[in-house]
Assembly symmetry: C2
Homo-oligomer: 306 residues x 2
């Protein structure tokens, strides 16, 4: 039976690319029949990666059957995985997020979680010398994942390991990191095709503070004006999205990759208070700028308070 | 603050030895102030290892304080860890058991779980070339852990990796594996000092089948007669131990390491039926022999049915 390799719902570049990288490794190096899958449409940056490196878009699946062999990459959170994930035969987990609890395996399996910025960085270490056998597009996917998750090394999640792997891949591939990252971020910033609800859900994780449930959305962009021009309708849409998704409030952080700051939309007093208590920031109008804030994992989630 | 490194409650050789090995690595190689701890008295084989290699017995702790930095080895099961484990600052997990769920970390950390027989085998790979700097007693602890968890390579959990590491360590140390393992198993088999209740709890894990809770105890020994001579009082004690521990039934499997079989005590019809449904074994009297059964993880737990 083919092993399915997939990352989280609302797939970003790392969840898409890591699934492709690990499927290549399983197929070509380990002799395991494996295929990458997606749990939804990839974001525009992930789509750019597929197109740029000539990679096929993985099939999108809605759920997994009982006993389906799977490898989970870039998450260990059941809420971000198919509903039947604990019915599947989980073969391995490769991730770089905090352990959430909730996944169970039928026997001992390979689990590798490390506090680096990107799943592909961990895979680079696990694949080791066998990477020499990888085609350009696999190495290209790896480089794209690292530049994406580190925001070209600007994110505070970036480690020396991520940088070392990225520079080594770029050298090998003959890729100019600055020029390539600019193309990636331009693709990520092109959100004109998405509805307000899609934007609010695109890169978001649910998180509870003292019993209040938030959908914490982050939009990383080099053109924040494009998103902020839509702030009125985005804030209006937050109410219906929160209701549909069973949370109390949607938070939208528009991260300006180049200026290295986030703008938080402030639709009401709950978010106004949150901005003050979490980031010591006073929101006068319906937005507030948070200088230096780029990482949900390192800077937003750990500080959230109401 | 000193990082505490510990394995599971009722510490066996791997839980004791791996904590010592990893503390050495953190202190001497990584420059992290770390100390091994125990969550109870080590078993007789673990005590033999400490004495044989001249290792200090780690301090026994009852619980961990909030934000205490800890590294968890040889388990990922909160039920086998201090009550406040999720209040601690979990820095890393190194284990070879199935993922149970329930542990949560405050941020992304190092987690390495692999389906090998022994935690020390994973550590050998993680330590890599730095092992050359390890003193004899650290390498000796590693070898002891592997011989213990594999029952000198007899257990079906044994992998080629476990064997390769053990032979390499034995060669390096000039240890005759057969003679040394015989000494280890003799130490493990010397259970005369333990009360019936202590024997029933010594190497046991809780496991539920269709809502019925079992304490699944395994006694690995080269002298099964010593234990089986006590079967009447052991079976009597099962009732009070089950009551105190909040389970429905204690199961005791006496594993004969040399004959490679287990004897299950059969105190009542529940266990008689379990023997039949789990192992296709008919218990005529108050014991039943299960040929080839040596591993709780691979052979007992996956087959339990009532």
């Amino acid at each position: 039976m083919t092993t399915f390799v997939f990352g989280h719902k609302s797939p970003d570049t790392d969840s898409t690319g890591s699934a492709i990288i690990w499927s290549w490794y399983l197929n070509q190096i380990k002799g395991v029949d494996a295929a990458p899958k997606l749990l939804g449409e990839p974001n525009t940056e992930a789509a750019f990666m597929l197109q740029h490196w000539g990679l096929d878009k993985p099939e999108i699946i809605a759920d997994v059957a009982d006993d389906q062999p799977v490898v989970i990459v870039d998450t260990n959170n059941p809420a971000e995985l198919p509903a039947n994930i604990n019915g599947a035969d989980i073969q391995a987990i490769i991730d770089h997020h905090k352990l959430v609890g909730g996944l169970e395996t039928k026997g001992p399996i390979n689990i590798r979680i490390e506090p680096v910025a990107c799943t592909a960085t961990i895979m680079w270490k696990m694949i080791g010398a066998d990477l020499a056998q990888a085609p350009r597009e696999i190495k290209g996917a790896m480089l794209t994942c690292i530049l994406s998750d580190t925001l070209e090394f600007r994110s505070p999640t970036t480690t020396q390991e991520d940088k070392a792997v990225a520079y080594s891949l770029a050298e090998d591939l003959g890729v100019d990191i600055a020029a390539y990252a600019a193309d990636m971020f331009a693709a990520k910033s092109d959100v004109s095709a998405f509805s307000d609800a899609e934007l609010l859900r695109m890169d978001s994780k649910e998180y509870a503070v003292d019993g209040t449930k938030f959908r914490v959305s982050v939009l990383e962009t080099t053109a924040p004006g494009v998103v902020l021009d839509r702030k009125a309708s985005l804030m209006e849409t937050m109410t219906s999205v929160a209701k549909e998704d069973g949370v109390d409030q949607v938070l939208l952080f528009v991260v300006d990759i180049l200026k290295e700051e986030a703008t938080l939309l402030v639709p009401n007093d709950l978010v106004r208070s949150l901005a003050s208590k979490s980031f010591d920031a006073t929101a006068e109008g319906d937005t507030v700028v948070l200088p230096g804030v780029m990482s949900r994992k390192k800077q937003i989630i750990p500080n959230l308070a109401i």
